[in-house]
Symmetry: C2
Subunit: 341 residues, 2 copies
């Protein structure tokens, strides 16, 4: 056949080859614990595997309600937080979508996939730490949707609650992406009591070491959750993934301890690198961000690569996921040159 | 806040409450085997849970290539076959979409979710067994997409290969939904060698008892697969689901034996019910379809409900999933009235 289909040109998400020390995707350096995994498996109800299992199960909804302090009707789940973001583009076909770069790269990838044109209002400030409120309050209205990671990705900084409230009062739908919430311990989810134009997204991929199992959740007012549930795939999260998420929430203390260890490592890295002349943002996530452009940034990335350490370069700097203590030591010594001593 | 968002009105997919004998969703009556499940768990690489795991993994692609006889470059996977269908609506924003009712109900649900207008060319024949080729060849062209389950759902009948070839020669993209392939043992996937406008979809939800784990796969020419991969969620199928699919393919003989048992039960039900005056389609799937309208159909459904058996009513008749032998016995005796003796 000579026929040739025409496709939209889409940016392809190509994961890199994994190096020995892979600090490019903000994954948790610690494994999901074997003891919990084994318990989940011992308690699996085999009968459930063959059926179309409720997504979300009532059991998981209860646990999420307990964890977040939100009523069950304000919660649903997704095939990773990414599916929720993807579906939000589909939920509002007539609205204008905004992001504030530097920001999470999948926003633009999923916008292309769903045929949405994305509008950009870059962050301002020497550290890209501030929302351009002047511009945002001018362009945002009830026909707008703004995606905002908080802490921001890739810089890790938190936005002020009062700034977020100001954005909400424009009437725009604000999608707060709290993927790194457990590392910042700051959430604005309680604003749901005051605003019906807020969506909060979270994930089990980061603090709970379950990136491969694809479980995120969405919180919003009941009406938005119902709309999301009617639009998404009806069975979007697998039975075993839901059981693992449940187990994670049942072992919160364990995960909190590990999260704290990562936070302490993050602060240690920030301190040592700052002392040694690097300019870092005040990241509250499980990664650090070194401000550096072009030549300087490339030089740093290559230095790390020679030690088999993979990090991510952005236009504004370098994002390095916080790894295990010994991995972070190697990052530090490579960067400050002590390994050459 | 007084603000009120406006949403599109979407049909809601509301799963029913599960009765004791639930034969409404064509699930496999036999559990995914404990021995295989245990082996998968013993061999799980815990390190993989915390990372963004390749979807599809090369390992699973190899196994699928071996199972289907297609090269790896013609294969990808989805979060259930449903995600693939959902994404096909998004892949071709400028094309006209067609289905031939009675057909799979999710086509219209996912069309609404993705904002696509669906066009209908109903099946013809006393048993809804024939494609309306006259009409289809008139309306289909290179700007069309046709979804066609084969065997058809809900009637279970197979369409002729020559008819499918005729549809392909219109230049339209034909999406053959072979979700029930293992029960019919008939596939037209080899037409991929001849046509570049064919997509074949399959699933692990039916013959492999893994509906709750959400794994489907798509086969098409390399260019279409690349486009699908650039549009879908990058990590759409979880690590454990991929491992379970792999294990299923490694134990094919086991699943084939069970599939045969279901096929034998299907034929037994068809024979007894036909002998007792019911009009059935020649289903090649894991369900039977009794032609009956309105009052008659409702009466049958209610009769079964009184025995705690849930089936699915359509405009054209009643679809009953083939269950375990004793469940099928109860369906038969309820329908032919022997339970009242």
């Amino acid at each position: 056949m000579e026929r040739k289909m025409t496709f939209r040109q889409l940016p392809k998400y190509e994961p890199e080859k994994r190096s020995e020390i892979y600090l490019a995707l903000n994954e948790n350096p610690y494994d999901f614990p074997d003891e919990i995994l084994e318990k989940v498996f011992k308690n699996l109800d085999t009968v459930k595997l063959k059926i179309y299992y409720d997504s979300p199960s009532d059991e998981l909804l209860e646990a999420l309600a307990c964890y977040t302090g939100q009523p069950k009707k304000r919660i649903s789940i997704g095939n990773g937080a990414d599916e929720i973001i993807y579906d939000i583009f589909l939920m509002f076909p007539d609205m204008k979508f905004y992001v504030c770069p530097p920001t999470y790269s999948c926003y633009s990838i999923f916008a292309s996939a769903t045929g949405v044109k994305l509008n950009y209002v870059p962050l301002i400030g020497e550290m890209y730490e501030k929302l351009n409120l002047d511009k945002l309050t001018k362009v945002l209205d009830e026909n707008s949707v703004l995606f905002l990671p908080n802490p921001n990705n890739p810089t890790g900084q938190l936005f002020e609650k009062s700034d977020v409230e100001m954005l909400l009062s424009t009437g725009a739908l604000i999608v707060l992406d709290e993927a790194y919430y457990e590392f910042s311990n700051v959430s604005y989810v309680e604003l749901l009591d005051k605003f019906d134009n807020l969506i909060v997204i979270r994930t089990f991929s980061k603090a709970f070491s379950l990136a491969a199992q694809r479980i995120g959740y969405i919180m919003a007012n009941e009406e938005l959750i119902e709309y999301y549930n009617s639009l998404r795939l009806p069975y979007n999260v697998s039975y075993i993934s839901q059981q693992l998420a449940l187990a994670a929430l049942e072992n919160l203390a364990y995960f909190k301890k590990r999260t704290l260890r990562i936070v302490q490592e993050r602060e240690r890295m920030k301190e040592i690198l700052s002392k040694n002349g690097f300019k870092l943002t005040d990241s509250k996530a499980n990664f650090i961000f070194i401000l550096a452009q072009d030549d300087e940034a490339r030089c740093i990335v290559e230095k790390l690569e020679r030690q088999n350490i993979t990090v991510r370069k952005f236009e504004q700097g370098i994002r390095i996921s916080v790894g295990k203590s010994e991995e972070n030591d190697l990052v530090i010594s490579t960067l400050i040159g002590k390994s050459e001593v």
